[in-house]
């Protein structure tokens, strides 16, 4: 009896070990997740990616420089799984009503640091100042967007609607801080450069965006932005140049979202509907990158469904606040790739449009006004089947 029991116990253990692989959770398919690298990184690049990933996850505390006023304590808290943010991490910017600049820069603006370490008082929006809320965007595929040439952006723009299609996209322009290295093929205008990242397209490149985010989101100073968000005085850097560079490389080398069910008949029909009702006039299906030292990013065509330009979205989405030369009713066309995976980073729900006010794809479509008004009207007149196909397509992205 004893020998039999010991035998069966040992047999169980052996079975367990031989079945080890099968007992462990399998990986999530690449098209179901937003994180992961582009292909073809060298060993050195992969190590830099990993350092950047680690820095992206670093949680700052008082001892390591957090705040004392801030929005959040880490990059990852706003971009869970490298996806879109949640209303919890929605940030507020205030002060600028028109293209004449922000009178609150240097006085606590443009970003509201609405949280603080114990013992400190967070900022409040000055009485009467215009403001808007911004939901953090997804990070994936940003390296591709960064490499679209200024010439291509200008080729898509039509500020005076010369083709009379009701769409008049234009790039945003801004004076750049000294630390931003301008691209060799940049096409400036009166000393200002085309900017493309952010809801109002106010950041020039991922380096500009990252330095700002450290400073304005977390109250972390760097050699590039040494002004403390609370005292408004320069202090020693709280994050190193190398770390900033690593995070920028991490963002540049995150893969592009992979479409799911692309060959599905309903999804394909949805793409046709998407184009037929005019969505693609702004949400351009295909863009291409210029030359890059990273082969996977160099001279590639990709499907981000954006033109990176500003469009007037009507009074319903006009919060009265703006950045750069954009009007307060103008918003940059957000890339739609990765849209279907948004709930995977937003707690299982959709929080769409610039401030997360739309909690479904249809609600987001119906909030389009201004240059998007005609497409919205076209959507409303679609048959239920076509609407369903369009939503299926958007969910597949």
């Amino acid at each position: 009896m004893v020998r039999l029991t010991v035998f069966w116990a040992l047999a169980l253990v052996l079975c367990l070990f031989s079945a080890c692989e099968n007992m462990l959770p399998s990986s999530v398919p690449g098209d179901q997740t937003l994180d992961g690298t582009i292909d073809g990184l060298t060993d050195g690049q992969m190590k830099q990616f990993e350092r950047g990933d680690e820095a992206f996850r670093e949680v700052f505390v008082a001892e390591t420089g957090l705040g004392p006023v801030f929005v959040t304590g880490s990059c990852i808290s706003c971009h869970a799984g490298d996806g879109k943010g949640h209303p919890f991490t929605t940030l507020t910017r205030f002060g600028q009503a028109d293209e004449n600049g922000n009178p609150y820069v240097g006085k606590g603006g443009p970003q509201l640091q609405n949280r603080s370490l114990p013992g400190y008082t967070p900022e409040v929006i000055p009485i009467g100042a215009p403001f808007a809320k911004f939901t953090p965007p997804a990070n994936t595929g940003l390296g591709f967007l960064e490499l679209v040439s200024d010439a291509d952006l200008l080729a898509m723009s039509d500020p005076d609607d010369s083709n009379q299609d009701g769409i008049s996209g234009r790039p945003n322009y801004a004076h750049l801080p000294d630390y931003v290295v301008k691209s060799a093929d940049a096409i400036p205008l009166n000393g200002k450069y085309i900017t493309r990242f952010g809801k109002k397209a106010a950041a020039y490149n991922l380096f500009h965006q990252t330095v700002n985010a450290y400073n304005q989101d977390m109250g972390i100073t760097s050699e590039f932005e040494p002004i403390d968000a609370y005292t408004l005085k320069p202090i020693d850097p709280e994050v190193s140049v190398n770390t900033v560079n690593d995070v920028v490389f991490y963002l540049q080398s995150l893969k592009a979202p992979i479409q799911r069910n692309a060959s599905d008949a309903t999804v394909q029909k949805g793409l046709t509907v998407f184009k037929n009702i005019g969505c693609e006039n702004c949400h351009k299906e295909t863009l291409k990158t210029k030359h890059s030292l990273i082969p996977a990013l160099s001279e590639q065509t990709f499907h981000a469904y954006t033109d990176l330009l500003l469009h007037d979205m009507g009074s319903g989405l006009d919060d009265g606040y703006t950045e750069g030369i954009a009007k307060s009713s103008e918003w940059r066309t957000p890339p739609l790739w990765g849209l279907g995976l948004s709930p995977e980073s937003q707690g299982g729900a959709y929080y769409l449009m610039h401030d997360g006010r739309a909690t479904s794809l249809e609600a987001a479509i119906l909030l389009h006004g201004g240059e998007g008004e005609q497409s919205k009207t076209n959507y409303q007149s679609l048959s239920a089947t076509d609407k369903e196909a369009l939503i299926s397509f958007l969910n597949s992205l």
Partner: protein
């Protein structure tokens, strides 16, 4: 290093003396409580020595994956603990425990307390005291458990093994059917790292400041325990302190725990369970990732399926069991949406164990765990096969 030398010297003395016996200072005719665990550890003492030494070791191996990403195979030695105790006279005793944690990464004095016994119900304890919050903190020796990992409620919600310098009273009355005990201590407490730490969540463990009090206010820890021979033991414990005065408000942290343990069917089936809840006064203007309320619980059910002489061992046992556990790092709701804040871990751990002797256990566990992030996104899934040995020495 001086601890290691002292411990080695103690072993040397005993081996020279050549006499060993099994130390047990309690009265076995009376029911024991979890708080008695520190008095009833196996140990050895020399014939002419005034002290008793002992310890235990945990060695584990781990093979697992999270969402298909293999962590590979690794060995761990989470605990190598040494006990040293002595009866200075019939009414004064000294108890201590020191341990290497996480291999040799950290050497920590876990307990060094002097008990002055006046009578059953009035005894003074002072020194570095194991705070009596929950049952596990006082009864944490690896060989007492059939599972490789410590319960998460005891390590993630409560900061076991958790001790502080302080003083207080304890007492117990017992007969062969009933036992009741109390403990009440004032000790050093927590600091503001509870809500300012790199875990990005409320963490009592991050705020432990055992040896110095940062704000001049002591922490109270108290426990009441009642045991019936048939119904088992239930304990209710509570602790509270001020952890921060940074923003002029006196911000407090408190924890409450309920524990239960019992054996059935002539000790062939045992149940241990513990539930703990933590409340922290977090400033309204701070991050919601730092919770005002946390909770966790676990239940272990273990049954003996075979008990008989096997090979060299006269009282060998095979057990099977399962642990269910849950921790919620953040029981709040989002200010912005009103929705639930998640940040939870759920796990189920079936296992088998073999005890060649009561003080040694070989364990084989399979851990299946789901981690839900702060926002409630799709959980990450972890599976792990764990094999471990834990034994008193």
């Amino acid at each position: 290093m001086k601890y290691i030398i002292a411990i080695n010297m103690a072993f040397l003395c005993i081996s020279l003396n050549g006499q060993t016996n099994f130390h047990n200072s309690g009265d076995t005719s009376m029911l024991l409580l979890n708080s008695d665990a520190m008095y009833h550890r196996p140990g050895i003492s020399g014939k002419n020595l005034l002290f008793t030494v002992g310890g235990y070791i945990d060695v584990n191996s781990y093979y697992g994956a999270t969402n298909g990403s293999m962590t590979g195979f690794s060995f761990e030695m989470p605990d190598l603990a040494f006990f040293l105790s002595s009866n200075l006279n019939k009414h004064i005793s000294f108890l201590s425990e020191a341990a290497f944690e996480s291999g040799a990464e950290k050497f920590k004095l876990r307990m060094a307390a002097v008990d002055i016994k006046f009578n059953k119900l009035f005894n003074i304890r002072t020194g570095l005291i194991l705070n009596p919050i929950g049952a596990f903190n006082q009864n944490h020796d690896g060989p007492n458990y059939e599972f490789v990992d410590r319960p998460m409620v005891s390590t993630e919600i409560l900061p076991s093994v958790f001790s502080n310098v302080g003083a207080g009273l304890h007492g117990k009355i017992a007969n062969d059917k009933w036992a009741a005990g109390y403990e009440a201590y004032l000790t050093n407490g927590f600091n503001d790292k509870i809500i300012d730490n790199e875990l990005d969540r409320t963490s009592l463990r991050s705020g432990v400041s055992s040896y110095q009090n940062t704000n001049g206010k002591p922490m109270f820890t108290g426990k009441l325990a009642l045991r019936n021979k048939t119904a088992g033991e239930i304990g209710i414990s509570y602790m509270r302190c001020i952890y921060s005065e940074l923003d002029a408000a006196q911000r407090s942290v408190s924890a409450m725990a309920i524990d239960y343990s019992n054996t059935f069917l002539a000790k062939r089936l045992s149940i241990r369970a513990e539930l703990a809840s933590v409340h922290v006064d977090v400033p309204d203007t701070y991050l919601q990732t730092y919770a005002g309320q946390q909770m966790g619980a676990f239940v272990d059910v273990v049954g003996t399926v075979l008990e008989r002489p096997i090979w060299h061992w006269d009282h060998a046992k095979f057990n099977i069991g399962v642990r269910l556990e849950y921790v919620d790092y953040n029981q709040g709701s989002f200010t912005e949406t009103g929705g639930n804040i998640f940040h939870e871990i759920r796990s189920i751990v079936p296992g088998i164990s073999f005890r060649p002797t009561p003080s040694t256990v070989l364990r084989l566990n399979y851990r299946y765990q789901q981690n839900v992030d702060f926002l409630g996104n799709t959980p990450t899934k972890t599976g792990a096969i764990q094999v471990g040995l834990s034994t008193y020495f």
